[in-house]
Symmetry: C2
Subunit: 219 residues, 2 copies
DNA sequence: GTCTATAGCAGGATAGAC
DNA sequence: GTCTATCCTGCTATAGAC
């Protein structure tokens, strides 16, 4: 495989650099020139490997974003197993921590969240793909996990909204960090992340309780 | 003033069209040519009135976005006065409704939220201005309003986070509507907005309760 | 698979007539 | 205040040598 090293590397480097640049500046804000320069390969490489710029963008989501999303989900599942019982509190804190801290480096997480934020603000074909292959299955998994922990009377829509509301806070505190730190007036470090996670968990549990009387939760 | 009509109109039309286009496609995604074409004025008009494209973007926030944000806030305050007592439930529902429905047309609100979403994803000098002149004062007003309705023991940071968490849901359900409708599988109409508002209020109140024991709330 | 060269076009900005 | 004409730069995409 050594003789193919440079081939594979160019394609991978393009994906790496493209993802970071798309995250920082958006699709329109980055030029193919800038990407190829950052990836230390020729201008023509994008067209050679991906056909055009748009397709490179999609491949970034397919080959980088989605696998990383799966890693985050997997880290969430693993951290759940840590404790024997699965209380609502435990689930939501694990969820928040997986997304705010998780298995990613600081730079990787920032990149990941920014791409998502951009797609939320201006959906492209990429969001369609994410909704289908990542978001919807994970929401299903999450609501299935929560359902036995709350009273039977709760509406499915309320449950779905709750999951989304929890996510709203996680995403907001995750990628709206500029606004968060500016308003709180403090650094966005691990200590803050921990406080945010436990805050989100507490807040969410209260919300879930309120929706339909008392619930049974451990922790 | 009749003889100045066309002068004033061009500038105003530019701001109107620029805002819509920036909201739809982002700063980089729109050309000055496109804006001037939409505003039915000459290509050179942007440079004449605003110096350059970037400054037009800032003026959109100063002359369109910020006044509208103040109108939303004002409509929130007005709707609060409707009832004699100000319960937490009432406050939060009014807040959510002001942002999800409020005094704006459907198109105006969508435009407003999208610009905000873009600034959150990729902050520019505009966000600095909004944080200082709109967000921070309003958050202060809001926390001052909520503080007397909850126990004294609560931390100021928790209170701030609560206000932000409530906003997170409102903004998420407001401008993440594509994701919302896709996941819920229903239309984003007035009925859904009403359900979302009352859901957000219930959820938030539960969250606030949970943070520090029981609270006194009406409604 | 990599690179140079370039076609072909669209972008922001401005000068200067009216 | 409005408009035309134009400069110059940068873009995507491709053809074709190596």
């Amino acid at each position: 495989m050594a003789e193919n090293e440079t081939q594979a590397d160019s394609r991978e480097r393009l994906l790496d650099e493209a993802e970071m640049l798309f995250a920082q500046k958006g699709f329109e804000g980055v030029s193919v020139r800038e990407i190829t320069r950052a990836a230390h390969c020729n201008l023509a490489a994008v067209n050679y490997y991906f056909g055009n710029k748009e397709n490179l963008y999609l491949e970034v989501f397919r080959n980088r974003w989605m696998p990383r999303a799966r890693r985050i989900q997997e880290s969430f599942r693993q951290s759940l197993k840590g404790e024997g019982h699965q209380s609502l509190n435990h689930i939501i804190q694990c969820l928040a921590l997986a997304f705010l801290k998780g298995p990613l480096s600081e730079a990787e997480r920032k990149c990941h969240h920014q791409l998502m934020a951009r797609e939320m603000a201006q959906p492209t074909a990429a969001l369609e793909m994410l909704a289908e292959q990542i978001m919807r299955p994970f929401f299903r998994e999450l609501t299935d996990m929560i359902r036995p922990l709350i009273p039977e009377g709760i509406q499915e829509e309320e449950l779905m909204l709750s999951a989304m509301g929890i996510f709203a806070m996680i995403l907001y505190f995750g990628f709206g960090r500029v606004a968060v730190t500016r308003l709180l007036g403090c650094e966005y470090d691990d200590a803050l992340r921990k406080r945010l996670s436990s805050y989100i968990a507490d807040f969410s549990i209260g919300g879930l309780q309120r929706l339909n009387g008392e619930i049974h939760h451990g922790g």
